[in-house]
């Protein structure tokens, strides 16, 4: 755990620093790889910028909306630079909606856009897991294994490191193989999402659970499995519609 990098008088919060590095790496990959899916990099750039700014504003607005009375007599704190005043879920929803609007306006194929941003998400995920590791969050269950890390009183599974390795392997596979020509648009994104939920279902078993249901089931694992199910249904649906489309074209 290393939440702060102290450089002389400068204290850099490591989790935020890692997320920024992930964002830069993701943007670079996005720019380089978007042409593989016949996407204009300007559209991707615009969507990314508008999405990021909207997500930040949305996260702050969502936080304020949660308890507007707390800002009574302290209205200027709305502009506070403190990231603790951000609601990540609200930010993601508003940022996602903004990206959707940009893409709709450009009349771009949503599936091709999702395929393109797979590279961005692929680079962000390892950075996200590393940032959690640096903050000491999402820590593992106790272990006797030699690679256990001493955290919060005992040797624990470095579960965020497992997740980082899994995310990096997936990123390398995606970079090396995408796009697969025989697969319909959207497949790269959906395969990436399904693979991510698959390793999450597997590896979160080594994480100290935050919420336990009856008989020791982890609620997080069940939610991840349901998301995996949804991603696989969508993927199969994409395959089915693309085959039907090809059949129709042959008939014509």
């Amino acid at each position: 755990m290393f939440p702060i990098i102290n450089l002389g008088p400068l204290s850099i919060p490591t989790p935020a620093f890692l997320l920024i590095l992930g964002y830069i790496a993701g943007s670079y990959l996005l720019e380089k790889k978007s042409s593989l899916f016949s996407m204009a990099s300007e559209i991707i750039d615009r969507a990314l910028w508008i999405g990021t700014i909207s997500a930040l504003i949305g996260a702050r607005l969502s936080y304020i909306a949660g308890a507007p009375s707390a800002f009574r007599g302290n209205i200027l704190s709305i502009l506070s630079l403190n990231p603790a005043l951000l609601d990540p879920v609200g930010g993601l929803l508003i940022g996602g909606a903004a990206v959707f609007l940009v893409i709709s306006k450009q009349k771009t194929d949503y599936w091709l856009f999702l395929d393109s941003i797979t590279f961005f998400l692929g680079a962000m995920l390892p950075a996200f897991f590393l940032s959690r590791f640096s903050a000491g969050n999402g820590f593992g269950i106790p272990t006797d294994l030699p690679w256990g890390v001493f955290l919060w009183g005992v040797e624990r599974h470095p579960v965020q490191i497992y997740l980082t390795i899994a995310a990096l392997i997936l990123l390398i596979i995606i970079i090396a193989t995408a796009p697969i020509k025989e697969l319909p648009p959207g497949s790269t994104f959906l395969i990436f999402i399904a693979a991510t939920f698959s390793y999450l279902v597997f590896l979160t078993a080594y994480q100290e659970p935050s919420n336990i249901l009856i008989s020791g089931f982890r609620s997080g694992q069940i939610i991840l499995w349901l998301l995996l199910l949804f991603a696989l249904i969508l993927l199969n649906f994409r395959f089915k519609t693309s085959i039907t489309k090809v059949d129709h074209e042959i008939e014509k």
Binding site: P13, A70, G73, S80, N82, N137, F139, Q221
Partner: protein
């Protein structure tokens, strides 16, 4: 392609279900809230420190009440910037059982500077003096200010590293702790 992908999907889903069953959490495990560690979900480590009147105060004295624990120093600009917000919150929540405690990193500060700062800014929050730096070390305080939000049961609910924290954030956290 479609049939093959269906078989793969079903295999992945069934393997996932089997893994969820196999990796169930042992019901006899010790919950994190019973272990002392300076992390969200764990029990806040207990300590005893003197205040400015040399009276010994322990965190365990406040068990049953929510506590906001702020680590600070008089030379640290964000600590000084956020102290008025803490003072305001201290006054606003005086009628509730919420406790606000400021732990001065006295091993990197001086009592004279602390007294001068509190007098100058009218700070009446209980200030504890960590003269050896033991409590800061125990709470893994890497940077000042650092604030811990502790629930009535003594479990750490939130940790915020850095500042200045605005009054609105303190109100939101305080209300959450009181209602918890």
């Amino acid at each position: 392609m479609n049939k093959k992908s269906k078989i793969i999907s079903i295999t992945i889903l069934m393997t996932g279900l089997a893994w969820i069953w196999l990796s169930r959490f042992p019901v006899d495990s010790i919950p994190a809230s019973l272990v002392e560690a300076p992390q969200v979900g764990f029990s806040a480590p207990d300590f005893t420190l003197p205040d400015l009147d040399s009276q010994e105060i322990s965190l365990s004295d406040y068990r049953g009440s929510p506590v906001i624990l702020n680590f600070w120093a008089s030379w640290c600009p964000p600590c000084k910037a956020e102290m008025p917000a803490f003072q305001k919150a201290f006054q606003e929540y005086a009628g509730s059982d919420l406790q606000i405690i400021a732990i001065n990193a006295t091993n990197q500060d001086s009592i004279a500077a602390v007294l001068s700062f509190t007098e100058e800014h009218g700070i009446t929050i209980p200030i504890l003096l960590d003269q050896t730096g033991f409590v800061s070390k125990e709470y893994l305080v890497h940077s000042l200010p650092t604030t811990y939000f502790i629930g009535k049961d003594g479990t750490i609910k939130e940790v915020i590293i850095g500042g200045p924290l605005p009054l609105s954030l303190l109100r939101i956290q305080a209300n959450g702790l009181i209602m918890d």
